[in-house]
Amino acid sequence: MPASRASPSILQAERVSVRFGGLRAVDDVSFRLECGKILGLIGPNGAGKTTLFNALTGYVPLSSGRVTYLGSDVSRSPPFERTRKGMGRTFQIERPFEGLTVLENVLIPAFLRFPGRGDAEAWAGECLERVGLADRRKQLSSELNLARRRRLELAKALAVKPRVLFLDEIMAGLNPPALTEMIEFVLSLTLDGTAILMVEHIMQAVVELSDHIIVLAFGKKIAEGTPEVVTSSPLVIEAYLGGVDDA
């Protein structure tokens, strides 16, 4: 994308690889993410999307390569340090702090930016407002339904005031109206310059949202480009239809 090269890059992956024993789960993947942009990460099951995602956020160690965030190398930083620097994430399988209420769940990441209880609570409330969970603040988080748990995940990720947001399949399992709502919401997040990297299976969401898409298969980047380019690439269609051999 030569046109946008001028805008500041917030996250950069250089030749990132993750190996488990002999298996190359992520193999030599590079990309660059700019402020206010959305990068979609797609690929068939087992392509290494989630592994790459976890490697970028620090939950899985890199075997080689480098991850740079705002110009500093974070390849060896533990997850909590990346969060503190402004890399927020959601979990594919929602992980609310089960014994706590919805508000308390968001309070915990809010403390990172507001050490005092009063300020933290106000900020947590604001985040819940944004995701539309304000009326649920006193409910036990374990009692939320799937769509609301998703939104709670988002509120928690927003509470750390991320400059780059990692969204792991937040659209999966949503019904059509909820999906449309979520797509609009994610789009609104980029207005203040927040960059987003999303792993997603729902093609509609990826195509509508992404500025740039990376396609993974067997850990390798097999295609990238704008949604139009990627969806018409024969390689991608083949990968999704299961035509790719182990080679």
Partner: protein, 260 residues
């Protein structure tokens, strides 16, 4: 089965008291008691698993550990109230008989115990590797959800395993009592602790590891007592236990588990 059983040693103690009662009341030889106690121990284990452990799903972590701790206190103190705190033993005619094997002198009971242990090991090995039930046990231990997906009744596997565990503990108590003294409260934890050390040394869920761990614990304790200080005999096993836990949580003989 990844259940840390705090009452393990107390079942050994139950076996010991069973042997004592059957001998003093009915005049049964421990080896005869064994035949009766094995199925009863198995039943006891199955009942306890059904009544207590199987209910502990979706509860805070460490609940099974606490429940077996509670069970342990109940067993110990029931025995204490029934038999009193004084040490008891069992004298059988062959209790002090020995056999000379070249330069070694072995007591008959140790030989019998060793023989039974070999039979049990062989039995477990055959069961786990060559029967359908045994393979169900191994599958459940490796991946409970996966086992359920291929149609294994993991509930009955858990009962079976706990039953076998209790039966073997009771049997161990019966075999060992002519050699040892038993008290209701102290003896159980000693066996429990040794069992923890042995299994952690060998790697949890690994029968061969447990055998290696058992041998190693014996060697460590005896060597430590002989060359460092006898006073700390019990500590060597614990130190070894900690070191293994910290350095190689999968056990000395366990395979490295890869997380993906």
């Amino acid at each position: 089965m990844r259940i840390i059983n705090f009452s393990h040693g107390d079942f050994v103690v139950i076996g010991m008291y069973t042997a004592i009662v059957l001998y003093t009341q009915l005049g049964w030889d421990p080896l005869l008691s064994l035949l009766v106690a094995l199925p009863l121990g198995f039943l006891l284990g199955v009942v306890l698993e059904r009544l207590i452990l199987s209910r502990l799903v979706d509860v805070p972590e460490g609940s099974t550990l606490l429940a077996t701790l509670g069970l342990s206190l109940v067993v110990q103190n029931t025995l204490m109230l029934s038999f009193g705190a004084s040490p008891r033993s069992l004298n059988v005619a062959y209790g002090s008989a020995t056999v000379n094997l070249g330069p070694m002198t072995l007591s008959v009971i140790q030989l019998v115990a060793g023989g039974i242990v070999l039979v049990v090991i062989a039995g477990l090995y055959l069961f786990l590797n060559y029967t359908e039930r045994g393979q169900a046990v191994r599958a459940t231990s490796q991946n409970r959800l996966g086992a359920e997906l291929v149609g294994i009744n993991t509930r009955s596997v858990h009962s079976l395993v706990f039953g076998v565990g209790v039966a073997l503990s009771v049997a161990a108590g019966i075999i060992l009592i002519p050699q040892l003294f038993v008290t209701p409260v102290i003896t159980g934890p000693v066996f429990t602790l040794k069992a923890f050390v042995v299994t952690v040394l060998g790697g949890l869920g690994n029968v061969w590891g447990a055998i290696g761990g058992g041998l190693l614990l014996g060697v460590v304790e005896v060597l430590g007592a002989a060359y460092i200080s006898f006073d700390y005999r019990d500590a060597y096993g614990l130190v070894a236990f900690l070191l293994i836990l910290l350095l190689r949580p999968e056990g000395l003989f366990g395979r490295t588990v890869k997380r993906v």
